[in-house]
Symmetry: C2
Subunit: 141 residues, 2 copies
Amino acid sequence: MHHRYLEELRQRGYRITPQREIIIQAVADSTAHLTAEDVLKLIRPRSEAINIATIYRTLEMLVEEGLVIRSDLGQGQAVYAPQQHGPHIHLVCRHCGEVIAADHTMADSLQEQIRARYHFEADFTHITIFGLCAQCQSQEK
Amino acid sequence: MHHRYLEELRQRGYRITPQREIIIQAVADSTAHLTAEDVLKLIRPRSEAINIATIYRTLEMLVEEGLVIRSDLGQGQAVYAPQQHGPHIHLVCRHCGEVIAADHTMADSLQEQIRARYHFEADFTHITIFGLCAQCQSQEK
DNA sequence: CTTAGTGCAAAGGATTTGCAAGCCC
DNA sequence: GGGCTTGCAAATCCTTTGCACTAAG
């Protein structure tokens, strides 16, 4: 009921409103990637009245505070996931839309090469890679 | 004047209209990633009248035919580039917006690991990786 | 009390679509 | 001339924003 994010945010000067409590509970405890619409549906049973604009504003605030990650999975909607899930690679099947959360340490070598050759600090937190999942590979003509 | 894409498309049953000729010339010869708006501006000198909807439809057709790649560089607009440029990794600086075209063979090992562990056929053609470029790393507090 | 946060509705930007007219083959 | 293409405008979709009202601290 009292998520640690709430204390964290209060200390950073944010006001803890009932809306924020509900939204944060829904997002922080989710193991999936949620769209703003998903959050709305999730919290509907608990609160009829929270507006979609408030959800966007709260999610944006959480992203700015580094508590939540926003990714674009190519489906035209942004998705949000708690940072605490730890970084991972999103393998998105462009055929069936399935999202596989893959071990991000596989990218360590690539990250190092990019650093060495381009002096570019690549962010492999919640990166998205498109392709075909095992099932859809066999189905493709 | 007569781009090879035109013959290619005619053979596949598409009609070659003046609009398509102009759009294809602009995109096929571009070394940059173009948005639909960019294409509109590029061709304006040559043709005042081409509608943005036609540009979107033509680009979409080229993507479906595999002649052009569409990527999302996170700027809210899709960008298009000829497939013939060869695959490369987009390193997008999330601070200044710069896009570095990096050697995609750096990702070969990652691709192989993903295949082995997840049976997922990752598409590293024109993939996008966000991060910080050399200049912006020093500027960040 | 002070002012951040909310709800509502309207605005926004990119892309898509319906439809009648146009033109490629 | 058949039907793929175009132009135009309207429609969509997701997200943001202006503003008056509410409520957290």
